[in-house]
Symmetry: C2
Subunit: 412 residues, 2 copies
């Protein structure tokens, strides 16, 4: 569980606002989900929550098992299926908040991940998939990220090739696929009884990762297998996503294994340099709403805001530092100036008695204003440039706005 | 644990932004605190967390007791005393997030309370108290609330009168004081051995609530008692707060009992009509940082955003509904318009095939745009007024901006 220090927390809040604003422009309305959720809501698709990945406990009064949500999609499904059950579909909803995941590798392994995401409920097929992709891509573009890749997969691709294989053999086979270990994949699939074109296709999946050039080989390999249908579905999504220029590049990974077992169709990851992990991911989960008694088709995505922040840093996305003025002077004069600057939308606080410049640097003030009986001196903290002016808030605000070193977007 | 539905969640997010922005204008920098905290951090002032009011559990791997924070002030104290230990004081920090409190009255009684607050660390005495009051009041004013009252109390007032009374008798006496039950107060205090001017002063405290007119009687009653010092401290804060016009009115409640036992000086509540509970509260806690090995004086406040939203509704604070346009037409034309509107900062989504107007009303769209081969018709959802115009995003954006029914603040 990580603290967000000053500066870092401000940047994360800005990023969250920008991403949510992009979702809202696509017509998605903000909802707020509780941090604690009944465990049964989160156990989607008949899957029990992995006790190693979710923090659960018994609520003392009710005896109900509650969990710190590892994912908000099932919570939105609960909301749409209950409190919004009367509303006409499709529903377009967006959310932000933290999810809690536990990592096995570390001793203290609770990880709070800030997310922002969307849910498109009641639109099936490629129209919905494309919209979700476009909204996710517009959020990344709005954040200032100049280069990112959309990597497409399909949750039914490998499973369709395993139809003849006993369910209890799947995990070992899919583990090998996830690791792209073709030798283990071939060995395990053969031992489980897979043969012929299905075996050949499965073993080739790890190689079928790249741009449009993979389709020729993929179509030849998958011809006549049960994977033809999901591959065709994925290709048509790849085509529209490419022609709509979603992201700088749209790649395909036919060997992608599903991450949450509620995915039922195309899935995607948004990749950017820096974090080494996706900045976002999503896909289609048409079976999820059956669990809540409604049969809605659904697709969605979530942006990992920590990873996006990382990618933005890595990509040198320019940041606007807010103007912050430290005011030093006689109490009455300072109070008047502080009030005037705040009224003009400029952050201002009184200076400590000693060590003004060091204090200003430590707490990210951009300017120090020293009031005297005959005027004021405005010092720019970064380069120590000084300017003499009247001790008047309007005058100071104007000087701050005109300075080349304080140019920034005020609109945020 | 409550869901925030569309509309409601948007209003809460707006309010949170406005309050945080007001804090930032006072020089407070945003920090982010984890939702889970080690129990020992929250056990401030030697107080053990009340198992009935805090949800705690044992973290499986580490065996440490963690809690869903009921309050963020101790978390900020931890952060300032550890990761920010090298920074020069004073620290001005603001935060937002949910705290979890459990109410005994209800069967399912976990309550997630959205808060935004500030911490002023390293400024002692009235200067700090006044700054915190002013920042809190400016946040309420920024939210649009036209009328609110600042109610001042002092955490040492009643305790100072009980110095001669055994500690185990305090809870019963303070309970009677909290209920303003003067008969029980007198009976319990007498039985505990209190007499003379301290007894007379204590029994009178519930009556010493109101405006400046209470001071004459208060000063007479408290003269010569240990409560003279805190009363004098409170009066001087009342004087500066009144002269600085913090809130529409500044009242005093000498019978106020402390709520968190870490308060060590003046405390305040921000009261507005509607919620029946304070929209904010705060005060001084100069002993809290001793617990973390640093001796900083500190004061702060937290705004209860649910209660503030309630007060704003009650006070008919005008709300700006965002423009949201539902676009109906041939797919290619719709796609072009949707893209253009979003680029112009207007939320837009494709219309369902049937029941456009009912759908628009259900999901809070302000306008429906129907594209045809020879132009477009823009319908205002609330009054069904129609307007014919070119099927061009710039044209539509201009029409939306000029409409009297879509006037709103875009700056948010």
């Amino acid at each position: 569980m990580r603290d967000g220090l000053p500066g870092e927390a401000r940047r994360l809040a800005r990023l969250t606002r920008v991403v949510m604003k992009a979702f809202e422009l696509f017509g998605y309305e903000r909802v707020q989900l509780p941090a604690l959720e009944y465990s049964e809501v989160l156990e989607v698709g008949g899957r029990h929550l992995d006790p190693h990945s979710v923090l659960r406990f018994v609520e003392p009064e009710t005896g109900e098992v509650v969990a710190l949500r590892p994912d908000m999609t099932p919570q939105v499904a609960r909301m749409v299926s209950t409190r919004l059950a009367e509303a006409p579909m499709p529903a377009r909803l967006c959310y932000q908040g933290s999810v809690l995941r536990r990592r096995r590798e570390r001793a203290r392994n609770n990880q709070q991940i800030p997310q922002a995401g969307i849910e498109l409920v009641g639109v099936s097929g490629p129209d919905g998939d494309l919209e979700v992709l476009q909204a996710a891509a517009s959020a990344l573009t709005a954040s200032g990220l100049a280069h990112f890749v959309v990597d497409l997969g399909h949750s039914n691709l490998a499973p369709s090739l395993l139809r003849s294989v006993a369910r209890d053999r799947w995990p070992a086979i899919l583990d090998a696929l996830a690791l792209k270990d073709q030798a283990a994949l071939a060995r395990r699939a053969q031992r489980a009884g897979l043969s012929g074109s299905a075996l050949a296709a499965l073993v080739a999946l790890p190689e079928l990762h790249g741009g449009g050039e993979i389709w020729e080989r993929a179509e030849r390999l998958l011809a006549g297998t049960a994977a033809e249908t999901p591959a065709r579905e994925l290709k048509s999504l790849w085509q529209v996503a490419s022609s709509h220029r979603v992201g700088n590049e749209v790649t395909i990974d036919l060997g992608e294994t599903w991450r949450f077992d509620y995915y039922t169709g195309p899935m995607f990851q948004l990749l950017a340099e820096g974090p080494g992990l996706p900045v976002g991911s999503g896909g289609r989960y048409d079976a999820l709403y059956a669990r809540f008694g409604t049969g809605h088709a659904a697709a969605g995505c979530a942006i990992d805001l920590d990873n996006l922040a990382w990618a933005c840093r890595h990509g040198n996305v320019p940041e606007s530092e807010p103007r912050r003025v430290l005011v030093s002077g006689a109490p009455a004069d300072s109070a008047r100036l502080l009030h005037g600057l705040r009224a003009a939308g400029i952050a201002a606080a009184p200076a400590p008695e000693k060590g003004k410049m060091a204090y200003a640097r430590a707490w990210r003030y951009t300017h120090v204003l020293e009031l005297a009986s005959d005027g004021a001196v405005l010092t720019h903290v970064a380069d120590a440039a000084k300017r003499t002016l009247q001790a008047d808030a309007t005058e100071v605000a104007r000087a701050l706005r005109s300075s080349r070193l304080t140019q920034q977007k005020d609109s945020e």
